[in-house]
């Protein structure tokens, strides 16, 4: 499938070049260029030995992320590129390359459209991202599901007095990469990307479609979305010998996201209903964030977060968020170094385990940033999918240099 991705990147690139050629770039008065590069050194240390053979405890890795932008025609036309490469000392599957974004965009007074690989984020809650479905998760990159693979698409966005309508044609579905033999946070047997099949005899080129309406009225921001096509999340089945099999089903997912911003309180709600022939389920995340701003005129903000998470799939929800409570706190010093810390715990309400997470960061000088992150699995019970990861608590140190 790697060749398919490469093929797509080339297609998009040549498309982009064709567009540039046809718009007579040299004839334009100003072309604005923009470049940014992030070099990242990362070390993950797992507190315990792995449950499975070949798993290492200390994982060193290097990542490189160049981004560029070209803008002309007074900003009405642009090309955006964002590439990602990671080398991992232990896990060859975590060593990977992805075109996060590479697209051409055209904007007019009435609407905007773009073609290429893009990243689209939908949603409002912090502990779960239910409605966010356009991009495939970069599973080897992070455990929180916030890192995404680039998604090839044609995207049109039409603003109106009755809200914004977004239409997506998604011709190809990237598959998830799972950790390799030496990797952590994996199932007993290694799952290769191609072990996970797409539904029946369809392939990754089966097209998907999505539409979203979003609007805001005073304090209320709302979005309603529908997705039809190959699910981004594989369906897992655990066999009698604890062997895990998986495939991507054809799904239809309807989603709602809602936020009410009322003074220092943000009320948040996300809900989905996903239908597949093999399984249908509903999920909900609802909660609030209350911010105590500029405490004692020190600049310190403390935000308190509480969210309830429900998933009708129960224990086999890949997210592990079946009937849980998330409690967290966000600290922002608002100092020159932009120091911040987010800490929280997802607590299973039936006492089947707790997942603790903390991440903090601080800038040094103008171009350096240090981040510290920890994820802890505590007291996970046997019937939970996360039981496979019970020894995979870790601490991560990341140093980034920006150019």
């Amino acid at each position: 499938m790697r060749t398919h991705r490469l093929w797509y990147s080339l297609l998009v690139l040549s498309l982009a070049l064709m567009v540039i050629g046809s718009t007579n770039l040299n004839g334009q008065k100003t072309v604005e260029k923009d470049f940014k590069l992030e070099l990242q050194l990362e070390n993950r240390l797992f507190f315990n030995d792995g449950l499975y053979q070949g798993q290492a405890r200390n994982h060193f890795s290097v990542a490189l992320q160049p981004e560029f932008g070209l803008e002309w025609d007074e900003g009405r036309q642009s090309i955006v590129g964002n590439l990602f490469f990671r080398w991992d000392q232990q896990d060859s599957r975590r060593t990977h390359f992805d075109v996060r974004e590479l697209y051409y965009q055209q904007v007019s007074d009435k609407w905007e459209w773009s073609v290429g690989l893009k990243k689209i984020f939908w949603g409002v809650t912090e502990s779960a991202h239910l409605v966010d479905i356009i991009n495939q998760t970069d599973q080897v990159e992070g455990f929180d599901g916030e890192q995404k693979l680039g998604q090839p698409m044609f995207h049109a966005s039409i603003p109106s007095k009755r809200g914004t309508f977004d239409l997506f044609y998604l011709p190809y579905t990237p598959r998830r990469q799972f950790p390799g033999e030496a990797g952590r946070l994996r199932f007993p047997q290694e799952i290769a990307k191609n072990d996970v099949d797409v539904d029946s005899k369809l392939d990754s080129f089966y097209p998907s479609f999505a539409v979203r309406w979003s609007h805001y009225f005073g304090a209320v921001d709302v979005g309603v979305s529908n997705f039809y096509g190959i699910g981004r999340e594989p369906l897992f089945k655990v066999g009698s010998a604890a062997e895990v099999t998986a495939f991507y089903p054809i799904i239809n997912q309807t989603g709602l996201d809602l936020q009410v911003t009322s003074g220092p309180i943000l009320w948040k709600l996300e809900s989905i209903y996903r239908y597949a022939e093999e399984q249908d389920f509903a999920a909900l995340a609802v909660g609030l964030e209350y911010t105590f701003g500029n405490i004692a005129s020190s600049g310190l903000d403390i935000g308190i977060l509480g969210e309830y998470l429900y998933d009708s799939r129960g224990a086999l929800a890949l997210s592990n968020l079946a009937n849980d409570l998330f409690l967290g706190a966000r600290f922002a010093l608002n100092d020159t170094q932009g120091s911040e810390l987010l800490a929280g715990a997802v607590i299973d309400l039936k006492g089947k385990g707790t997942f603790i997470s903390a991440e903090g960061s601080r800038r040094f000088g103008d171009n350096w940033k240090i981040s510290l992150e920890s994820r802890i699995f505590s007291n996970i019970k046997q019937d939970q999918l996360a039981f496979f990861f019970r020894e995979d608590s870790f601490v991560l140190l990341k140093v980034s240099r920006f150019f």
């Binding site: 642009s78 955006v80 603003p159 921001d221 220092p264 943000l266 103008d366 171009n367 920006f402």
Partner: protein, 258 residues
């Protein structure tokens, strides 16, 4: 209408009423003097200096769309420090009630509606609070005329402003309006919640654009309580840039940060 105005002037003869009114009148005249810029764009360099004199620099760009009925709309994009490059905010100021504000986070391409409640907090670790930089609508303060005095060789009116919003970090601001140059601001002193002097802002290197709009080339904010200082330098001001409502949407916020 004329009779009504005459009536107000007569009623306004009592000294206290006259003083309050005079402050408000000057604030209104200052606001009126800047009407009609339609839209503006400017590049900002922010120099933060700590009490040891160590400096760090940030680069931003802002776009503003003038609104007549309600408060102005603005879009701010951060270009440096590099780790926050592409972060952008969209603000719809309201003359009454809370402003609407959205934040774009480029790392995950997420647009987040944020609370505009925390206006007294520092902007990007600087000595400017969010409320110092947001659109200065007349309705956000009550006014008291103190006196006329010379400042920097100009005839100025010194006016005390009391923020209407209880969430403001100030009990009052003392503002020097330049009576010789279209009521432009020359200096502002900020008094904290204990009513002691917290900061002084001086407006420097004024230039007039389109024969009408005065804009300072730099703002210098000194915090008297911490000894820290922030200088804002404005470069490449442009006005009537043809910006429209659709340039201040969540889609344009995403584009600005991408």
């Amino acid at each position: 209408m004329k009779i009504l105005i005459m009536l107000f002037i007569t009623l306004g003869a009592s000294p206290l009423w006259a003083q309050t009114n005079q402050g408000l009148e000057i604030a209104k005249k200052a606001d009126a003097a800047d009407l009609g810029f339609e839209s503006s764009q400017v590049k900002l360099k922010m120099i933060l200096k700590n009490k040891h004199g160590q400096e760090s620099t940030r680069l931003l760009e802002t776009k503003t769309l003038e609104q007549v009925v309600d408060g102005d709309k603005s879009l701010i994009v951060f270009n440096s420090p590099r780790d926050v490059k592409g972060t952008a905010t969209l603000t719809f100021t309201h003359k009454e009630g809370s402003d609407d504000q959205w934040l774009f986070l480029p790392a995950i391409n997420r647009v987040k509606r944020i609370s505009s409640d925390n206006k007294s907090g520092p902007f990007m670790g600087s000595e400017f609070a969010y409320e110092d930089l947001s659109s200065q609508e007349v309705e956000k303060y009550t006014y008291e005329f103190i006196k006329n005095e010379k400042y920097n060789g100009f005839n100025c009116a010194l006016i005390s402003q009391d923020p209407v919003d209880p969430k403001s970090g100030y009990t009052k601001r003392l503002v020097w309006y330049n009576l010789d140059q279209d009521y432009r601001l020359e200096k502002t002193e900020f008094f904290d919640r204990k009513n002691t002097l917290l900061k002084t802002l001086t407006y420097k290197d004024y230039e007039q654009y389109l024969d009408k709009h005065w804009r300072a080339g730099s703002f210098v904010m000194v915090n008297h309580q911490t000894g820290k200082e922030t200088t804002l330098i404005f470069e490449d001001y442009t006005f009537k840039t043809g910006l429209a409502e659709e340039d201040f949407s969540q889609n344009s916020l995403k584009r600005a940060g991408s």
